[in-house]
Point group: C2
Chain length 152, copies 2
Amino acid sequence: MDEVPGSLGTSASLALRLGQTIFSCASLFFMCLDVNFYGYTAFCFLVTIMGLMIPWSVTMGLVDAYSVFVKFPTRQPGVMIIIIVGDWVLSFLTLGAACSTASVAQLLIEARSPLCPGKICSRYSASAAMAFLSWFLSFASSLFNFWILPKL
Amino acid sequence: MDEVPGSLGTSASLALRLGQTIFSCASLFFMCLDVNFYGYTAFCFLVTIMGLMIPWSVTMGLVDAYSVFVKFPTRQPGVMIIIIVGDWVLSFLTLGAACSTASVAQLLIEARSPLCPGKICSRYSASAAMAFLSWFLSFASSLFNFWILPKL
């Protein structure tokens, strides 16, 4: 079987998973730096999704690290489908959360809301930007895995 | 070549494209029913994306109708890649616009904004729902086309 860089078990995939973990943690960090995010549905959604994204990325990163450094895995179609579907669902949820957060933060900044003093709304925007980057990497992962699926 | 239902040139694909066109038009209709949408970035974004989505869906629907009723097309990998990439980009933009619109409409309803009298905000929510449906169909189209790509 030819190796597609970025598919499960390669070092490119490990790099993608590391990036996802880092950007998801950064997004969660910017959002939770002050604890008044729970007033907005969109921000709560982002926190929930990042709370799902981080363990998923860490788990997949561990699988990749194992197969890079110890033993290359046998790719079973059933397992690959679960991984691809998980990646896709999380990637779409992340994109949705990032867009929601970005638009709400934008609305709050434009409205000069009293709920948005100082640089808090910039932090929300930064959180949305990190979520976008996390989405992009997650999407790339799912794409590479989906590409090898018909050949299995 | 085996026929994947939903890929370019099949009747299932024609049905998907028809659905995309209908839902995109409905979304645009609900959003533009009153013309104060341009006060919000998220709503302008939705209108822009729907303005791209409708001609794309109509064009693809015409191609499908031609190949269903007249002559099955020769699928060239280059053309398929353009169609898949176009579908994906539009599908992601649609999802982003739908999420943004939904979260901003939600925020306006919760804040009991004076800019949101009567049932206008429910219309914005309906517009977001239609955009979600349009995204779902567009995503299905791109998935079916992507599935046959490695076999070409």
